[in-house]
Symmetry: C2
Subunit: 217 residues, 2 copies
């Protein structure tokens, strides 16, 4: 039975990208179907957990057949909203912003990069990953005109909140925040994913020190 | 009471970097003590959860006083092993490898970057973030000579496993893997943290589509 969205636990949503990655890889390798047992071994989630997770969203498996790789992958893409034509700008074209502009992550998540912005004269007017680096003073008009709904924040942390508020005023409702600060805007109707790359490095340091390899994500 | 490491749950270890980040920020802002209630509001973990998490590692708080910011921060740094003088190389100096070489994350986690390696003639011999980009053919000798125990993998995924095995043979036991593949080396005594930046972007896409903001990490 399909649950309504309020009942779907955060843990389920956290696991879905992992399912999606594996199914994408399986499809690339030419697999057309997979049993929940095989999927379980691949992604290290128990088969019953997989069935339970997917049941939140409807019936996907077929008794004695398993999952159809392509259709399950597409269904998860739909659940995750990665075929929604999200349109993004990157704010701050330093090393990390430039790397994300060149990286395939945005594209793989169905997010179309439409513009890059910075305030440094050193980089304004240059082209990075095929995109002109524009002046941050024009960002609101650009976002409105280009129906941008997502912003990748790779700017100094002291500027993150003010910039997010400017972008929100121009229709941006999603923030993928690499500014090394916990951005929260509870007064606005926006969604934020704060990325802290150091957290996984610290977990690795913990494993190295303790010899304990039990930190699963 | 201090538990032995086998009993400490992965969830606790996952939360520690968050505590560490906030305590670092508090210290920077000049705070010397904080109550578990205030810490709770700051990091959005319940006060009882914080007390329970920290109790895994010994007694930190003092009834009616709260936590000493500096000493708690240092204790967590010790638990996480981020003062262990880990020494790292970055393998693959493309956009992302270059960004990580220039980023403060390694340094903030107490990891010393000692070398950069690539196999592309375009970049060999250049200097990135103050480090010479060296030829990958010399990586084993360099790692042994420089007591490297951690490798940041920012190379194409089809090369990740072979490279990790070469590095492991030269004493590297920790892998921070950005190669967009789930690296597993169960036959070796090494620790791996596979980073999938797209997962958080997919969670953001989900929030944007569903309006559901309940995906906590």
């Amino acid at each position: 039975m399909k649950k309504n969205k309020q009942e779907i636990s955060p843990a389920v949503i956290r696991r879905l990208p992992r399912y999606y990655r594996y199914l994408t890889e399986l499809e690339r390798l030419g697999f057309t179907k997979i049993s929940s047992a095989d999927l379980s071994r691949k992604i290290q989630v128990t088969a019953s957990q997989i069935r339970q997770d997917l049941n939140c969203f409807g019936d996907f498996g077929q008794q004695g057949y398993g999952y159809n790789v392509k259709s399950l992958r597409e269904s998860i893409a739909d659940i995750l909203g990665i075929r929604e034509n999200n349109r993004a700008v990157i704010i701050g074209v330093g090393h990390l912003g430039g790397a994300l502009a060149n990286h395939t992550t945005l594209e793989k998540c169905g997010v179309k990069l439409v513009g890059l912005f910075d305030n440094s004269l050193d980089i304004l007017g240059k082209t990075v990953a095929g995109h002109l680096v524009r002046d941050i003073k024009d960002v609101e008009a650009f976002c409105i005109e280009n129906r941008v709904n997502l912003a990748v924040l790779t700017l100094p942390k002291q500027s993150a909140e003010e910039m997010a508020r400017r972008l929100a005023s121009a229709g941006v409702t999603g923030f993928w925040n690499f500014a090394n600060t916990e951005l929260r805007l509870p007064d606005l109707d926006v969604h934020i994913e704060n990325v802290h790359m150091g957290d996984s490095l610290m977990q690795l340091c913990y494993k190295l020190k303790s010899g304990n390899d039990e930190v699963e994500n």
